[in-house]
């Protein structure tokens, strides 16, 4: 076999089953690639090569036994390496959330999504960099390091799942787990030229996903193609008694057909996502992709999501409000950083003051304010009501269309440091991704072109609750006809 790191995850699973490659050889190939590229890209917060090789050896044994008797049940992802965003707990492996406050935290349990994949046989290479507690759109808010965009090392990879996106784009891993509260899977996928799935809220359990905004958080996938994303997603989705928001809705078999047309698919194009200020090449590439889908038989319908412009202020009240409550648990007592003081309240205040970075403090302050007596109705209460209007926009649109097509971001990857001084300018990067989280609908980002600087351009499809299948199938058909998703940065 040539360079195994360039094969798709679907191909790798087949090669592992056939014995064309061992999990150990595959895992070593990825670890060697990480050794070579990581000094430039800084995508990982923790690498677990020993654990990975142990898992790989076990997988090789399982595969060996299975080949002697293929009637036996084989865990479907046996031997396949993946990487995990450092916001998801993995038992026994340091999990920091990109924060100093959890610098030495070793989770005593694994997130449900992680455990399900381990049960499906994956090999885990390490934990990827993230904006602190997923609060950011560039991964610059990590307390540890700045991850670089593999397409241009002076650019951000997006965020907050920037480490996962950079790892997949540079083929340091075939697949990665990410999380998406306001765009944190789709936006880095767009910036790095990979495919990113944010499932329906409640589709993948949040147990063991360290909480940021509990009514918005979702566990997603970063992959090289819709087909690869579907394969991983299949084994994460479904009811979980440990998460009351993980709905008991049957998980279909996400089997993507090599369908060469899109007849019967109604695509809505919302005018509010093609606004002044959007980079011309982004708009052009997204419109070209929509035209291509029309050429494959899809019906294109102009639609309106009239409350889109309110998504940003709604999100930046609701998410910080939820964060301020969720992050109250970091008190210097049970886990995390502690700055000692003879006074209990002072101990908590000092521990949090020393352990949280600037963006986390900013959002805790904002959320505390929005929830405080005298301001609750005007800020948090009003935001929850406008959230209803945003949700209703989607409900009305999905009476007319099956999916909604839009850009992921107003522009391609920005420069490292570009938004350092102005948090509001950074928040504006999320303007097209926030509505899906507020409405709880699934979103799938995938590459549809490059700008004049050679930076990838992403498009997203949003769908009905629990209808990831339609998004994945549409992107898969598009990817049968295009090669944007197969292009890789040179290393």
């Amino acid at each position: 076999m040539g360079n195994v790191c360039t094969l798709s995850a679907v191909e790798l699973c087949q090669a592992l089953r056939k014995g064309e490659v061992s999990s150990r050889a595959l895992t070593r190939a990825y670890l060697e690639r990480i050794d070579a590229l990581e000094p430039k890209l800084q995508a990982f917060l923790t690498l677990t090569p020993d654990l990975a090789l142990q898992q790989a050896d076990l997988a090789d044994q399982v595969l060996f036994e299975w080949r002697k008797d293929t009637a036996r049940l084989l865990p479907p992802l046996t031997g396949l390496p993946i990487v995990i965003k450092d916001l998801l707990c993995q038992r026994g492996v340091r999990t920091t959330c990109g924060s100093r406050i959890l610098e030495n935290f070793i989770p005593p349990y694994s997130a449900t999504a992680v455990q399900r994949l381990l049960d499906a046989g994956v090999v885990t290479l390490g934990k990827t960099n993230t904006d602190e507690f997923a609060m950011g759109s560039s991964t610059e808010n990590s307390a540890y390091q700045i991850t670089r965009n593999p397409w241009n090392l002076t650019r951000v990879p997006g965020g907050s799942s920037g480490g996962s996106a950079a790892a997949v784009a540079s083929a340091m891993a075939p697949l990665a787990l990410g999380t998406d509260t306001g765009g944190s899977v789709r936006q880095p996928a767009a910036f790095c030229g990979v495919t990113g799935l944010k499932p329906t809220y409640g589709r993948v359990p949040r147990y063991g996903l360290i909480a940021y905004g509990s009514s918005l958080d979702s566990v997603g996938v970063l992959a090289r193609s819709a087909a690869d994303a579907a394969m991983l997603f299949q084994h994460m989705a479904g009811y979980d008694p440990l998460d009351a928001s993980a709905m008991d809705v049957p998980v279909p078999r996400y089997s993507l057909q090599d369908k060469r047309d899109m007849r019967g698919l109604r695509i809505g194009v919302p005018e509010q996502y093609f606004i002044t200020g959007i980079q011309h090449e982004v708009e052009q590439a997204v419109r070209n992709a929509i035209t291509a889908m029309q050429g494959l038989g899809a019906e294109v319908v102009e639609i309106s999501l009239p409350h889109t412009k309110y998504a940003l202020p709604v999100y930046y009240l609701i998410a910080p409000a939820e964060a301020s409550a969720n992050l109250a648990r970091y008190d210097g007592v049970r886990f995390g950083l502690r700055v000692d003081d003879p006074n209990m309240t002072a101990l908590t205040r000092k521990s949090r003051g020393a352990g949280f970075g600037p963006e986390v403090k900013r959002r805790i302050m904002l959320g505390t304010y929005a929830l405080s007596a005298g301001y609750y109705d005007a800020y948090y209460g009003q935001a929850q009501k406008v959230r209803t209007l945003i949700k209703q926009d989607f409900e009305k649109a999905f009476e007319q269309v099956d999916v909604i097509a839009a850009p992921v971001t107003p522009s391609t990857a920005f420069k490292i440091g570009e938004h350092n001084e102005d948090p509001l300018a950074m928040y504006l990067e999320d303007v097209f991704t926030l509505p899906a989280n507020l409405a709880g609908v699934p979103g799938l980002a995938f590459p549809v072109g490059f700008d004049g600087e050679g930076l990838p351009i992403g498009m997203q499809l949003m769908g009905r609750h629990f209808d990831e299948q339609t998004l994945l199938q549409a992107a898969h058909t598009y990817q049968l006809f295009t090669d944007w998703h197969t292009r890789r940065p040179e290393f």
């Binding site: 940003l312 009240l317 003051g353 805790i364 935001a383 929850q384 406008v386 409405a439």
Partner: protein, 94 residues
């Protein structure tokens, strides 16, 4: 515009120790963000119900049966101070 006292009050509620520079920085930045958020006030929402969850109402009750949890060692492993298998803290009540 938020005042310095308001920012200090929020920081106290949030149990966050802030330096003087941080207090001033957040006073300016939070003021700008809240000003931006004021655009929500232009919508009449008197007839609109708030959304706290996007999920349809669903039962989340389970039988009240004991089941195994984490071991004491697992729970205490990440604690900054442990004394006699308990979390050690300074006196919280005078």
């Amino acid at each position: 515009m938020l005042t310095r006292e308001e920012v200090e009050h929020i920081a106290a509620l949030a149990r966050l120790e802030l330096s003087a520079e941080e207090t001033e920085l957040y006073r300016r930045q939070l003021s700008a963000i809240l000003e931006y958020a004021a655009s929500l006030q232009e919508l009449d929402t008197s007839e609109i119900a708030p959304t706290s969850s996007v999920l349809p109402p669903h039962g989340v009750l389970r039988p009240d049966e004991p089941r195994p949890g984490l071991s004491l060692d697992d729970v205490l492993r990440n604690a900054p101070r442990v004394d006699q298998k308990q979390f050690r803290v300074p006196p919280a009540i005078e």
